[in-house]
């Protein structure tokens, strides 16, 4: 019972930048009234490494490694729009085998990313066991990445006109072992967490954003699709050979935290479908178009976008001749999704903050670049 003369004051609560649940170096200054969030001020830039400035000073091929490291979980997906932009500038068309290899790697990377999301989302909610299950699945995928590109995470594998080298001779055998393991793993992970009543109670109806607000903020990826719009660049603006694949786009109805979570589980299943179809259809042939050794696009501009696991990842390249870019702007989906964070947090409880932030699936390396 509140006494009539009791005066209250909003409290400023600082989260971060050192914090185990902010998914990186990220600071939020929350203004709270009791347990309710009144406002949230995000502070970025702790992981800003100057990717765009460096890209003006390094040759085009070297910049690829910077993009690997900007969003360090989705490395293949980050390399892709950059090479597409350069291919547009140089008028290069990619051989079919390379397109299929790219799709297989990108979709496996999507599963790996969503597994990391699943594990950390569970950890944010207090369930620590799913984290280990998720990383077991990621280990299987990363062994395949290591066999194909030589590295578990920073692959440096895509090239202008194709990929750096062909898949190893035992690739079919590796994939034949991997796919059933992943299928079983996804179902196990789903069973472990998705119908847990504590998780559902903590995430259903929490952190709702409407479709119009999400579009206005420029959100993309599963965080946008949870609110209803079936916008997935693989279907709405197909690139590579995605139009030859049969897969579904999971879409949410309520735009709450649970929808954003369950969507990603379903996306993993769809990615596995794409990988199976790609393995069946992959033709023989060249894995890289004939491109000069040193990449020198003609002067011009190009914007390329791909459906990253986090959303719409775009690269805008301005070329003025020479072997390095004049300007490269990276449109990061996590950056745009994070813009909606104050909107999502206002009115919710302090206990919901970590789950709402986790459900956006941000990677600070990509947000700050």
């Amino acid at each position: 019972m509140i006494e009539p003369k009791l005066q209250t004051v909003d409290m400023m609560l600082n989260m971060g930048p050192q914090h185990p649940a902010t998914h990186g170096l990220f600071r939020m200054v929350l203004t709270v009234d009791g347990e309710r969030i009144v406002d949230c001020q995000p502070h970025l830039g702790y992981l800003h490494r100057g990717v765009e400035k460096l890209s003006e000073n390094l040759p085009y091929e070297h910049v690829l490694t910077l993009l690997d490291r900007s969003d360090y979980v989705c490395a293949f997906n980050n390399e892709w729009p950059y090479v597409i932009a350069l291919e547009k500038l140089m008028g290069v068309s990619v051989p079919e085998r390379a397109e299929y290899i790219r799709i297989i790697m990108a979709e496996l990377n999507r599963i790996a990313n969503h597994m990391l999301f699943y594990g950390s989302f569970g950890a944010d909610a207090g369930a620590l066991t799913p984290f280990l299950y998720a990383f077991r699945e990621r280990e299987y995928i990363q062994s395949v990445f290591e066999a194909v590109s030589g590295a578990r995470m920073m692959h440096n594998y895509f090239r202008v006109g194709g990929v750096r080298e062909d898949v190893p001779p035992d690739f079919e055998r590796r994939m034949a072992e991997l796919i059933p393991k992943l299928r079983r793993g996804i179902e196990e992970c789903d069973e472990l967490l998705s119908r847990n009543e504590v998780l559902i109670a903590r995430t259903r109806g929490v952190g709702i954003i409407s479709a119009e607000d999400a579009m206005d903020y420029g959100m993309s990826g599963p965080s946008l699709r949870a609110s209803g719009p079936a916008i997935d660049l693989r279907k709405t603006e197909p690139y590579s050979v995605y139009d030859q694949f049969d897969f579904d786009i999971p879409v949410g109805q309520r735009g709450d935290t649970y929808d954003r979570y369950i969507l990603r589980i379903e996306e993993m299943r769809q990615s596995l479908r794409i990988v199976e179809q790609a393995l069946e259809k992959m033709p023989a042939g060249r894995i890289r178009a004939r491109v000069p050794r040193i990449v020198r696009p003609r002067p011009g501009e190009a914007y390329a976008r791909c459906e990253n696991p986090r959303g719409d990842f775009g690269v805008y390249v301005v070329a003025m001749g020479g072997d390095r870019a004049y300007r490269m702007k990276v449109r990061s989906p996590a950056f745009c999704n994070l813009m909606a964070l104050p909107h999502l947090l206002r009115g919710s409880y302090v206990a919901d903050v970590v789950l709402i932030l986790g459900s956006l699936d941000i990677c600070l390396g990509e947000v700050d670049r």
Binding site: G45, L54, L58, D216, E237, A302, Y303, Y316
Partner: protein, 156 residues
């Protein structure tokens, strides 16, 4: 797409923007329109509200530092009509100021703050023009061509 499309995207843009469009060029899969500096907010508003354009999605807002000018490049997309439009605004070097378009798309907010940090471009009417990616109180604008990185010794 076999439905009757009586007008091209260039035609629709020309009709909606009128004299605000200083030039229009088709570049591969998008139409690039140069907009006069004082008209950008109105042009964006028309692009969003005009039912034939229906540009509901601001994809990217970038600043570029050219030798003789700044440019602010708006990559826009219509999720229903599925067309891509690029607006470009030229700003003079001595006074790089332009209207903010956060009133049209809230998603322009952080992109504009980043352009301010990196280039010193000022967006009038921006609700929150604080530093975003740089340290508080940092006065440098790193993406200007005049801001030089430490020399990289060429070994290749």
């Amino acid at each position: 797409m076999t439905e009757a499309a009586p007008q091209t995207l260039e035609g629709l843009l020309g009709a909606a923007l009128g004299p605000m469009a200083l030039s229009m060029v088709r570049s591969r899969d998008e139409v690039v329109v140069e907009i006069g500096r004082t008209n950008i907010r109105e042009a964006c508003r028309r692009a969003k509200l005009d039912p034939s354009l229906d540009v509901d999605y601001l994809r990217c807002l970038s600043g570029v530092d050219y030798p003789d000018r700044f440019e602010v490049v708006y990559h826009l997309y219509s999720t229903r009509k599925r067309h891509r439009v690029v607006f470009k605004v030229r700003l003079p070097k001595e006074n790089p100021t332009v209207d903010s378009v956060t009133q049209v798309w809230r998603g322009a907010n952080w992109h504009e703050r980043e352009a301010t940090d990196m280039f010193g471009i000022r967006f009038t009417g921006h609700p929150d023009p604080r530093t975003l990616l740089l340290m508080e109180g940092q006065e440098d604008h790193p993406l200007l061509k005049s801001f030089r990185l430490a020399e990289l010794r060429k070994t290749y």
